[in-house]
C-alpha cells in the first residue's frame, strides 16, 4: 500500500507537469496553427536557465525562477521571430519542421554551455517531506499540484474572460474570419509563443527538483505530452489534464508492478493507437472550437 501511495504521488506530480506542457503547446496550436516541436527543448532551456540563475548567479531560488520564466517568455517570442514569422505563408507543417531545427539548436547550445552531465535543480520549498503513515512525500510534489492547479484556473480565466482569450478562441475557430474581424494575428502569435514557452519553462522548473535532468529530458516529457494531448482529444482543456494524469499514473503503476523495463513504452503505444483510432481529432468541428 505504501508503495502504491508513493507511485501514485509521483504519477500525479508527473502528470500535472505533463498537462502543463501539453496545454502550453495546445495554446500555441490554437492561436497560430503551429505544432511546436521545440516545446520540449524550451522546457529544458527553462530548467537550465533557472539552474544557472539559482546556482551560478546565486539569486534567491524563488527570484531566480521568476526571472527564468520572464526570460522564457522572451525566448518564445524569439522563436516566433525565427521559425514562424519568415515562414508564415508556407504550410504549417514546414513551420513545425523549422521549430524542430530550432529545438536542435537550443539543445546543442545548452550542451556547449553546461555539458551533457545530469544535473539537479534546488527546490524552492527545500528537501522537506510530509509523511502519510510510512510514506514520505516531498513538498515539491505537493507544490507541483498546487501551482499547476493555479495555472489551470488562470488559463481558464484568460481564455474565457479576457479579450486575449476571445481572440485565441476566434483564431482557433476560424483563422481567416478572425483576421477579417481585426484580430492582430502577428501580435497574437508573438504573445502566444511567449506564453506557451513560459509554460514550458514553468513545467521544467517544477518537475526538475524531483528528478535529475539532462539535455534530453524535455523532449521525453514532450512526447508524453503529445500522447496526453492526442488521447485527451486535442483541445479540450479538461480532457488533456485527465489524460495526462491517467497516463502518468498508469505509467508509474505499470512500471512499479507489472513490467518495469517497458513502462516507458506505454505512452508511445497509446499514442500510436490513439492516432490510429482518432485520426481526424485535429480538425473535427467539435474539438476545434473547444478550448
Amino acid at each position: 500500500m505504501d508503495h502504491f501511495i508513493a507511485l501514485l504521488f509521483s504519477g500525479v506530480s508527473l502528470g500535472a507537469t505533463t498537462a502543463l506542457v501539453a496545454l502550453g503547446f495546445l495554446l500555441l496550436y490554437r492561436a497560430s496553427g503551429v505544432i511546436n516541436f521545440a516545446h520540449g527543448d524550451l522546457m529544458t532551456l527553462g530548467t537550465y536557465l533557472a539552474f544557472a540563475l539559482a546556482t551560478s548567479a546565486r539569486l534567491p531560488v524563488l527570484l531566480a525562477y521568476l526571472v527564468a520564466l520572464g526570460l522564457m517568455f522572451v525566448a518564445g517570442v524569439g522563436l516566433e521571430r525565427v521559425a514562424h514569422a519568415p515562414l508564415r505563408n508556407r504550410p504549417e507543417i514546414v513551420v513545425g519542421i523549422a521549430t524542430l531545427g530550432v529545438g536542435i539548436v537550443i539543445r546543442s547550445l545548452l550542451s556547449l554551455w553546461h555539458g551533457s552531465d545530469p544535473k539537479s535543480l534546488p527546490s524552492p520549498v527545500g528537501d522537506r517531506v510530509v509523511r502519510f503513515g510510512d510514506v514520505a512525500i516531498a513538498y515539491q510534489r505537493l507544490l507541483i499540484v498546487v501551482v499547476v492547479t493555479l495555472v489551470l484556473v488562470g488559463l481558464y480565466v484568460l481564455l474565457r474572460r479576457t479579450s486575449f482569450g476571445r481572440q485565441v478562441r476566434a483564431m482557433a475557430a476560424d483563422p481567416v474570419a478572425a483576421q477579417l474581424q481585426g484580430v492582430r494575428t502577428r501580435r497574437m502569435a508573438m504573445v502566444s509563443f511567449g506564453l506557451s514557452s513560459a509554460m514550458a519553462g514553468l513545467a521544467g522548473i517544477l518537475i526538475a527538483p524531483t528528478m535529475s535532468f539532462d539535455l534530453n529530458y524535455g523532449f521525453a516529457v514532450m512526447m508524453l505530452a503529445f500522447a496526453a494531448a492526442i488521447l485527451g482529444g486535442f483541445g479540450s482543456l479538461p480532457g488533456v489534464v485527465v489524460a495526462a494524469l491517467l497516463l502518468s499514473v498508469g505509467q508509474q503503476l505499470v512500471g512499479g508492478y507489472l513490467i518495469p523495463n517497458y513502462n516507458s513504452a506505454l505512452p508511445f503505444v497509446l499514442l500510436i493507437i490513439g492516432i490510429a483510432l482518432r485520426p481526424h481529432g485535429l480538425f473535427t468541428g467539435l474539438s476545434r472550437s473547444r478550448l
Binding site: G96, A98, V105, A276, L282
Partner: protein, 344 residues
C-alpha cells in the same frame, strides 16, 4: 518554347529527363572516382558511409519528396532492418537471405503502421512516427534475445555472396555502389510510371485527386513501404559493414539527419538525396576541430534552408543555370541589336 522545339520533343516530359542515362553516368562516375578517392582508411570509410546514407535518403525521398509524408521513423526502419539482418546472420544464414528478410520484415511493419495511420493528417502522422521511433528504441534496448545484450549486437558476419566474402572497405564499396544504383533505378521506374504524378497530385491537391478517383491512401502507403524498405536495406548493410549495431547508431539524430539530407539536397529530385547525403557525411570531416558545433550547425542549417532556399542545393543550382541562360540570352539580344545598328 517555339513550335520547332516542341515538334522535336514529342515524348512526354518524364521521358525527356534521360533518367536511365544519368543513373548509368552516376554509377560509372562513382565506380571510377570512388576507388581513386579512397586513398586512406578514413576516405574509404566516408565514401561507404555516403553510399549507405544515400540509399537511406533515396528511400526517404520517396516518402517525403514524392508522397509528401512527414515521417520521423525512417531511422526506426533502418534500425529494425539492421537488427533483423544481424539476428538472422547469427543463426547463421546467408547474407542474401538476411538482407531479404530485413526488407520483408520492415516492409511488413511499415505496411501495418502506414495502414493504421493512413487517415492521420500531417501533424498526427509526424507525431505517430516520432512515437514509433521512441518506442523502437525502448524495445530494442530491452529485447535482448533479438537485439543482443543491451541492444548491442557485435561480430556480425561480413557480407558473403556465393562464396565471396567482402571484408575491407574497398570490397564492400562495390556492394554498396551496386545496391545504390539498383535503388536509384527503382526510383527512376517509379518516376517514369504514373505513380509519381498521381502521388504529387494526391499530395498537393488532395481534393482534386480524390475527385479524379486517385487512391491517395494506396499510393502513399506503397511509397511509404517502398521507402522504408530502402531504409531497411541501408540499415542492414550498415550492420554487415561495421560488424555491430546498437540503438546509438540510429537515434532520433539520424532521423533528423535524413530529413536534412533530403531537404538540403533538394526534395524535388532523387539526386537531391544523394547530394544531401554527401554534404551530411562531409561536414563533420571539414569541421573535425569543432565537433561540438556539428549538431548546432545541422539545426541552424535546417531552419535556414527552409527559410532561404526551400528547394535545396539543386534548386539553387537550377536557379543559377536559369539566371546564366537569361544573361546569355540578354547578351545575344544585345549583340543582335548591335548588328542591326551596324547594318543601318
Amino acid at each position: 518554347m517555339t513550335d520547332h522545339t516542341a515538334s522535336r520533343n514529342t515524348a512526354p516530359s518524364v521521358y525527356r529527363r534521360r533518367a536511365w542515362l544519368s543513373t548509368a553516368v552516376f554509377g560509372l562516375a562513382v565506380a571510377v572516382v570512388g576507388p581513386l578517392l579512397a586513398t586512406g582508411a578514413v576516405a574509404a570509410h566516408l565514401i561507404n558511409l555516403w553510399l549507405i546514407y544515400s540509399l537511406a535518403a533515396v528511400g526517404f525521398y520517396l516518402i517525403y519528396g514524392v508522397a509528401g509524408r512527414f515521417s520521423f521513423c525512417h531511422t526506426f526502419m533502418m534500425m529494425l532492418g539492421a537488427y533483423t539482418s544481424a539476428w538472422l546472420a547469427a543463426r547463421p544464414a546467408p547474407t542474401l537471405l538476411s538482407l531479404a528478410a530485413a526488407v520483408v520484415v520492415v516492409a511488413g511493419v511499415a505496411t501495418i503502421f502506414a495502414l493504421a495511420t493512413s487517415r492521420a493528417t500531417h501533424f498526427y502522422f509526424a507525431i505517430a512516427t516520432l512515437g514509433l521511433t521512441e518506442l523502437g528504441i525502448i524495445i530494442f534496448r530491452h529485447w535482448h534475445a533479438f537485439t543482443g545484450p543491451d541492444g548491442v549486437r557485435n561480430n556480425i558476419d561480413y557480407p558473403e555472396f556465393f562464396g565471396v566474402t567482402l571484408r575491407s572497405n574497398r570490397e564492400i564499396f562495390w556492394l554498396l555502389l551496386v545496391v545504390l544504383v539498383l535503388g536509384i533505378l527503382g526510383v527512376v521506374m517509379v518516376e517514369r510510371s504514373p505513380m509519381r504524378r498521381e502521388a504529387i497530385a494526391a499530395r498537393d491537391l488532395p481534393a482534386v485527386a480524390a475527385t479524379a478517383g486517385l487512391p491517395a491512401t494506396k499510393i502513399q502507403t506503397q511509397l511509404f513501404v517502398m521507402g522504408s524498405a530502402y531504409g531497411a536495406l541501408a540499415g542492414a548493410l550498415y550492420g554487415h559493414w561495421q560488424g555491430f549495431v546498437s540503438t546509438a547508431s540510429f537515434g532520433l539524430d539520424v532521423a533528423i539527419g535524413i530529413f536534412l539530407m533530403v531537404v538540403l539536397g533538394g526534395s524535388q529530385s532523387v539526386w537531391g538525396a544523394v547530394i544531401g547525403a554527401g554534404f551530411y557525411v562531409l561536414v563533420p570531416e571539414i569541421l573535425s576541430q569543432f565537433t561540438r558545433l556539428q549538431t548546432l550547425l545541422y539545426g541552424a542549417l535546417l531552419v535556414l534552408i527552409l527559410i532561404v532556399f526551400p528547394r535545396g542545393f539543386l534548386g539553387l543550382a537550377s536557379d543559377a543555370v536559369a539566371l546564366a541562360r537569361r544573361a546569355g540570352r540578354a547578351a545575344r539580344a544585345r549583340d543582335a541589336v548591335g548588328v542591326e545598328e551596324v547594318r543601318k
